[in-house]
Amino acid sequence: MAAAVAEDERVSGSSGVTKVLKRPESGAMVAALVIFAWFSFTTDAFATSGGSSTWLLGSSTIGIMAVAVALLMIGGEFDLSAGAMTGFTGLLVGVLTTEYGLNIWVAILVALVLALAVGALNGVLVMKTGLPSFIVTLGTFFVLQGVDLAGTKALIGQVAIQGMSRVPFYDQPRVLFGSALHWGENGSVYASVFWWVAVTAVATWVLMRTRVGNWIFALGGAQGAARQVGVPVFRAKVGLFMTTAAAGWLVGMLTLFRTSTVQSNTGVGQEFIYIICAVVGGCLLTGGYGSAIGAAFGALIYGMVNQGIVYSGWDSNWLRTFLGAMLLGAVLLNEWVRRRAELAR
């Protein structure tokens, strides 16, 4: 039968707009716009240069992790150790430099290697034991949390890194991880914002345009089928866990070099925020569907709501209530947009 060159009579017209709106991230984009507009109109400072600096900063570190976690989630796994990892790497660099006088660049490298090792361990455990990653990485999370607290305490006698800024060559990595571009009245765009954009761009490229991206979708969508058509399931999964760990390292460095300190409970409890952002950004919890840009927008929504509530001057005891209501609103809007797009003619 000849291939139908003309428009198929079984397809009613569909515009370019609905095609864009069908993407997983479309809903989150619209929700982000709505929230931005809302806070811009209702508060004075939100949309100023100074105001936007704060919520961009707050979103950026969460955003980097959310993007990595989104990749992993599309691949069908969770990483609950991601939050503790940010503290772990920061503490490691802090301890190695302030207490043992290691060269700061070497310390940064050591932290990266260790993070990757933990990531690989997560991946190998998940694949070899067949246990759900939720449980395996929860185990690593607990272990890391204990190591962060007890290890730091045992090595430096306190529970937070102190005196980081007096470490030799501190300023070199600080340029990379902790500096800021100033603009407007009192706006500053931190390095982490640029990292965030870069990570999102790379992740999107990988996901949409490379073989590995194709595999990630397949792993989450139907691991058995992926295996049957010859996707290297083991390597791809372990790689995903290592990616998340590397992102944890990056965020650890960003935190350490901006605030010049890390505490032993840094990042604990954040792992769910990352997952939330990924889901708000359109990722399926069950894997196989989602986007990196979406997760970045999810983080933006979270960051804007978090700071917007402060700008609005609402009683901050209710913070969590507002946050919950807004997140729910955002996902509802998100879902609604996507459904509309799918039903659109």
Partner: protein, 301 residues
């Protein structure tokens, strides 16, 4: 038992006296203040050749279970902080009834004697809070925010509440204490949103450092005060970036708690004679910062 992870210069200690004391507080994991209480208790244990087992849980139900566990394992004494005395009443009374000496520390001073404790060491967060509030007021400050880094923590709420009581216009700001970027961003936002705020009160040394960054960034000239010390806080006080820090001397609370139990064990003493023993509060300002810097660096103040 592997107690005493703090760095100790004298590894020898005294000969093993064979006593085991349980220290049970309402701290969350990794809290810097309670870490110093722990250090003090462990140092005392080491000095007296006693085993100190430190455990903590912010949930009163679980804290009560920890007390029950200490009773079940026949401790020679229990040091307990009572942030929520109602929740611990039954367990503390049971411990006393089982003949185990109990010392309360930090909070719960007004119920301590009623439950049958030997004495109470340190003062409730409210005393420290009031002192901070008054001091801020005397500095001529008008409007403050109190940064709560753990939602619903009884001790933190108490600090803010009593500071506000003494100070006047003070508003709570809830932040996510496990994400320093978010803490800094939230404090900045608050300062931008409300330019009248001229005081930031934080409840932990770590968050004071975040607040210093935030104040710098927001272009505000708010003053910063904080509960608890750390090395960075002390250096910031010396630099004039932090007005003062209030030091409840947590190390003393832990150390004296165990000491009191030890004296009871070896000598039958009832330290305090039924009256509470104060451990502070002491203010660390630019004038005396240099004196505490050394100890803050060691993590004992």
């Amino acid at each position: 038992a592997c107690s005493g992870t703090g760095k100790e210069e004298d590894a020898s200690g005294t000969a093993d006296s064979g006593f085991t004391y349980a220290v049970i507080t309402h701290s969350g994991p990794g809290d810097a203040f309670w870490d110093r209480v722990k250090s003090g208790a462990e140092k005392a244990g080491k000095d007296y050749g006693a085993t100190v087992e430190y455990n903590a849980d912010p949930d009163p139900a679980k804290q009560a279970q920890l007390i029950d566990a200490a009773v079940a394992s026949k401790s020679d004494g229990i040091v307990v902080s009572m942030a929520n005395p109602d929740g611990l009443e039954e367990s503390v009374k049971a411990a006393v009834a089982a003949g185990i000496p109990v010392v309360t520390i930090n909070s719960g001073v007004d119920r301590s004697a009623e439950f049958g404790a030997i004495t109470h060491i340190g003062q409730s967060e409210s005393v420290a809070g009031e002192a901070v509030g008054e001091r801020l007021k005397s500095e001529g400050l008008k409007k403050a925010i109190c940064v709560i880094h753990e939602a619903g923590n009884v001790g933190l709420e108490e600090r803010c509440k009593s500071s506000a009581g003494a100070f006047g216009a003070m508003e709570n700001l809830q932040v996510d204490g496990t994400d320093d970027a978010a803490v800094q961003a939230s404090v900045t936002s608050k300062l931008q949103a409300d330019p009248d705020v001229d005081t930031v009160l934080t409840l932990g040394g770590q968050y004071a450092v975040d607040a210093v960054n935030a104040v710098g960034e927001s272009g505000s000239d708010a003053k910063i005060a904080t509960f608890d010390l750390s090395e960075d806080v002390v250096s910031n006080i010396e630099d004039g970036k932090i007005l003062f820090a209030v030091d409840q001397q947590p190390y003393v609370q832990g150390f004296l708690g165990v000491t009191t139990l030890y004296l009871k064990s070896v000598n039958g003493n009832d330290v305090g004679g039924g009256q509470p023993i104060n451990s502070g509060p002491a203010f660390v300002t630019k004038d005396n910062a240099a004196q505490v810097a050394e100890y803050a660096a060691k993590g004992t103040r």
